[in-house]
């Protein structure tokens, strides 16, 4: 890159910042703003879900017996664990512990991969059960044949978008691990770890909303 770094006090302060503190504040505010845009991105799908669920409550509830709660529940647990390991990674960076940092980042990435693996199994099952709208969709009971497609369409869009965010997150974790291995972080500079940590927690939170809405709707009382 043609980036011109004017070296001031630290090695990581770019030329247009006065000091490291200003740079950190800037990055943090930027990340939070980005997460707000993400809320609105998923918000469009959540709004559609809310509207159709209120229009076709029975059809939506009838789908939950096709949702694998064991796999979905496992994935919820996996993601919650990964949030913990991510938080541990940020902590390790704060106290300049390089080896634990790399270990926790790798663990987080591993848990992310487990999540995606389980998601892939679920998608395969859905495909085999003809539950992908537009691709030989079949549904029993037949009276919900039409409206149930709305839910499955939203299911694939919402979980698919979530999975895409997981994949991007794993890519970012890979970068962090490489940077950590090169000893790029210290107690005075660990902004990327903290920012990607925020992103990772956000993606987890989205799942915390998706799981009950998609898997548990028919299981009340």
């Amino acid at each position: 890159m043609a980036e011109t770094l004017v070296e001031t006090e630290g090695t990581h302060v770019q030329h247009h910042f006065a000091d490291a503190e200003q740079q950190l504040e800037t990055a943090t505010l930027g990340m939070w703003t980005f997460l707000i845009t993400e809320v609105l991105f998923f918000g469009g799908m959540f709004a559609s879900y809310a509207i159709y669920r209120s229009m076709y409550p029975a059809a939506f509830e009838s789908t939950s017996r096709f949702m694998d709660i064991r796999l979905g529940g496992t994935n919820t647990a996996v993601l919650i664990c990964s949030s913990l390991t991510m938080a541990m990674a940020v902590r390790s960076a704060q106290v300049s512990k390089r080896k634990p940092l790399i270990m926790f980042l790798a663990l987080t990435m591993f848990l992310g991969l487990v999540f995606l693996g389980i998601k892939a199994i679920e998608y395969t099952n859905k495909w085999n059960e003809h539950l992908v709208p537009g691709f030989h969709f079949q549904y029993e009971p037949a009276q919900f044949m039409h409206n149930a497609q709305l839910l499955f369409f939203l299911y694939f869009c919402m979980t698919g978008m979530h999975a895409l965010h997981m994949i991007i997150g794993i890519g970012l974790l890979t970068t962090l691990i490489i940077m950590a291995a090169r000893n790029s972080f210290s107690a005075t500079y660990y902004t990327p770890v903290e920012m990607i940590g925020l992103y990772w927690h956000f993606v987890d939170i989205v799942w915390i909303f998706l799981f009950p809405l998609l898997y548990l709707i028919g299981h009340h009382g």
Binding site: A58, P141, A142, Q143, F144, M145, H146, N147
Partner: protein, 385 residues
Amino acid sequence: MFASFPIADIPLFPPAASAQAPEVDALYFFLNAVTIVMSAAIFAAIIYFAAKYKRRPGVKATQIEGSTKLELTWSIAPFIIMLAMFAWGAKIFFAEAEPPRDATEIFVTGKQWMWKIQYPDGGREIDELHVAVGQPVKLTMASEDVIHSFFIPAFRIKHDVVPGHYDSVWFTPTKPGRYHLFCTEYCGAQHAGMIGWVDVLDKQDYQKWAAGASIQGTLAERGLTEFEQLGCATCHLMDQQGRGPNLRNLYGKRIYLSDGSTVIADDAYIRESILDPNAKIVASFQRDIMPVFQGQISEESINEVIAYIKSLTQNVPPSQEGSHQWPIVLAPPNTLQQVPAAKSAGTVATSPGVQGTVAPANPARTKPGSVSPAARPAPAQKGNQ
């Protein structure tokens, strides 16, 4: 036909041919007046300032910070004028929302790229709508494909026609003439060809026109044919309770559903029940008995079947009353003995559903004894969903 410049033949203003049109126009002229006064004031100020305070050597600008009083004045005063626009516009819009009870109901189906018109007496036209001066008309509109929008500029009416919805709009023509009918929602290649004419005829001409049209039965009669061909009559028995609800005296009533809620049996509900029977099952009837007609029946046929079902109800309740009457319970087969069978015989021809004739029924067009849905008060129906 158009108000225009006397010199060059440029139309400036559309003809006003409905009862609503002069009201909308009055508001339009008010808006024009406000726009002209406001623009003129601002233009005049700019031109005056530009001339008066043109840069001159040795003359400096006078620095002025601002004025809260002025700011409040030019925030609040325009807003008050806007509130007047809002209230006036809302008043006309509300008045246009509910059709009068004596409105003739005409079905309109939008399809790439034509308007199909079905009259209550069974007449059909494409891209031509004939209406009589002074007779309120309510259009019930559906789309077979994409979103269209039904627009008659001379009547100042417009409404989108959305697939999966029933949309409605109404008007009272006031001036005989031939007016444009446009589609105003882009609907594909020949969108500009989805146009037609509205012929407003005086009463005499209207009768002549009606007499000349060739008809194969009224809308309701054709609905009966469809009803039998599609096999509906196997389960929806007319003189007793079959596997499906008895449809006699059903239209416009509030009925219980299997989930405990109630619904008014209006056009939209009947349409939904034909296309997707399991969506709202009448209390104590079974699911999955009736076939799904989604994709099996055209919007026009649905209109005919609905007209037939309407004709089975003698006094169609007006919409305002429909909402707070007690729900009726339709008896399932096993409670058949508790429900007295309908007294009248099962065919439509012997079931005179006429209640006060408004549109003069021409003998050539209306078979003796057949129903004339046109003559009934406006049915209960939600204009949109």
